[in-house]
Symmetry: D2
């Protein structure tokens, strides 16, 4: 059964972001901002309170310390510091989850840390180290591609479970990687195409690349968004698709 | 048996503060900065690593979000936000302690939060709430004064244990409160006077006020400092005093 | 001729706030956030670019260093630090204004700094000092009350011009001070009442207090808001009122 | 006449760094931290006050927004944001300089921004744009290498003057670039070797590379440090060398 995950709790102080109330009923897993790229202790507390009430799994969404850049900018952070900042953020969220009778269920690095982890084994290992030292039961969420053997080997060696996520609304290249947003057609706009890609990922563990090739893409979770009406509509329809498959 | 506590881990990024290596062997309890008034994830990780190796208890030292002011400036922070930021900081430290095989053993608010808690029941209750929701086994450290019945009643009601701390090197008024640093004689300079006050606190649970009155002052812990040679020398002599009493 | 001022440029990184584009054509003076309670260099640059294009005066809106609290929380900041942080923020904005062929035209402290300045002569003098040292031609905007003689005396002594601002949509007490937001009726909701108060301030330099007394209130500027539809509608109608009076 | 420059004013809040008082009498130009990698408004005010009293030129030392990383970590900051953050920092320092009767005399980017500017024309142009828009009279300080024609062409096109700086205590490769600190011998330890290199830069506009080749290196300024006894001693001797040459 594929899970739906969504980035959540991304308001900061007086600034609102996203449409958390609307998307929470649709998802299984919430990637909760931990104060480094977004959110603050009070926002985290309110977000977690809602998630626990709605029965959504709480994932830590740690990031580089770059609030103004929303954690989207690659930073040359040393491996031992990455380990420490992941620990710090996971722990902060864990304490807040604990007071609501819950716990952190997985870790999904955010933004540039997420991408840097895919391109640098050193960064990837630094994240793995945080998880294995803290709680090796926590799965690490990363991007599904056609060939994930390299990461699986490193994670297995560390003793950490990987969850791969796919995107119903993003175009893939022949390696099963996301087409960069700078390229035309990188983000699917037509909801029928998006639903078709969702269905193919869920039922056939594959996608059709921009070159028309069928690419293997095995994913445990799909990433959806809730910050605009079309994204919400898409999330609702994918939720129905999954629920029907379940039934 | 009275415990020695000291604020520790107060470096930040490239900036060093204090003399942690020298003072750690002398103390029982370290109040570890959690990133809001000082420290950062990497510094916390290094600090905790040393503390665990040396067998020192790890206390969370949460503060207002005021790095440039070192958490020393009172801020009009709402109660629910105080609760959330204490949780956040305690949790961040707990995760780091956990990877080193240890845990947070108590909570001592820092600077202005520490003082505001003494002057505002709302602030005090907000801190208590964080502790009782997170882990009511964690004692809360606050300042010993002649009459602590008000705080004890509130803490008992919340189900939290209080530890009171006294200062060997600070002058007291007739209510058992510290003379403000702005007043002459507020900080004792003569090491013999400091040792005499330490001894009186430890053996007789009292101090002599600036007016010459003997004031009851019951303390579970003494706060020492390690950031200058005289403070270190004082800490060493108080350590000896306690160890001799033990022997 | 009374001027309309509005807080502007309060987005931060990826977080949007306010409706700057809609309100800019209606106002004379924009109080531009300078990065301490809101905004960032890039946002400031975009804000100033729009203001210059639209011919709106640029005011510096310096604040305490409290992003998560949006500068709304009183902080115990020392006088010399207040002077320095006002200078810092005014200078940062001035450089950005300069590259767009403009300059800072006045200073209006934000949030808690604005209010603290009204309650503490030390804070008020610290702000005056920043202005007089930097550019005594810059007026300082503060709240109009029935009796402003105390501030006028201090400002005159320093050599700084004061501009007093009034609020069309806030209830006043008998001292010409704003009723705290915590009190019922503090914010006027009915647009006719708001327009009536605007007209009275503009034409008669007075308001009717919550107790029904006519209070003298001399203001050079009215503060409007653009962050919700009613506020915008109010701003439009006050703009018309002023333009008609001018005609 | 070659000028001595030194990074200064790098304390932050309660954290001290460097030995500004000792090095200020020895230098011509101070690269003053502007709050993004170090310093804060009050520290800047104190630093500038001392520099003006001692007659040292004030240079802006803008950096990426990375306090915990001291601006030493490359960040993927967009060009328009680099322009804006340089403007912001230069302006903040300018205001503080102005109240002390002085002004910003040049711009030297700090840390990772300094290095990124050497490796990316886009970053270099973004810095140039800030300067030319703000005040094209301000020279931009960057690293001297054997061939600086590319940067000189870009700077000339923009209308900005470049000042090149050399290092007496760093080993150079055959392109006149600094040997990375990770390589053995990258930092010269022997004071006689350092003085010899200083003399060669000053008198012959060249250095001997690690491979023994004489490399052309034309520099308007030498960068010295004041944060340890040997650095101070070196700075003193280079000061004497220059003063004797002058005499």
């Amino acid at each position: 059964m594929i899970l739906l995950n969504c980035d959540l709790g991304e308001s900061f102080g007086p600034w609102q972001m996203g449409n958390d109330e609307a998307v929470i009923p649709l998802i299984d897993c919430a990637n909760v901002a931990c104060g480094f790229h977004a959110s603050d202790p009070l926002t985290m507390n309110k977000t977690v309170s809602t998630l626990v009430r709605e029965g959504v799994n709480i994932g830590a969404h740690p990031a580089y310390p770059d609030l103004v850049g929303f954690g989207r900018r690659s930073m040359a952070v040393a491996a031992e510091e990455i380990t420490a900042l992941v620990l710090y953020q996971v722990g902060a969220l864990e304490a807040i989850a604990k007071v609501h009778g819950s716990q952190v269920s997985y870790v999904k690095p955010h933004g540039a840390l997420y991408h840097d982890m895919m391109h640098s084994d050193e960064t990837f290992k630094a994240v793995l180290k945080a998880i294995v030292d803290y709680n090796p039961e926590l799965p690490l969420v990363m991007m599904a591609t056609a060939d994930t053997s390299r990461w699986q080997a490193l994670a297995e060696q560390a003793g950490v479970t990987l969850w791969f996520e796919a995107f119903a609304d993003r175009a893939y290249d022949d390696e099963g990687k996301l087409l960069p947003r700078s390229k035309a057609g990188a983000v699917l706009q037509d909801i029928d195409s998006i639903m078709q890609q969702a269905q193919q990922i869920i039922e056939h563990e594959s996608v059709v690349s921009v070159n028309g090739n069928q690419i293997r893409l095995k994913a445990q979770t799909l990433c959806v968004h809730g910050d605009n009406p079309q994204a919400l509509e898409t999330a609702k329809r994918i939720r129905s698709l999954i629920d029907q498959a379940k039934a």
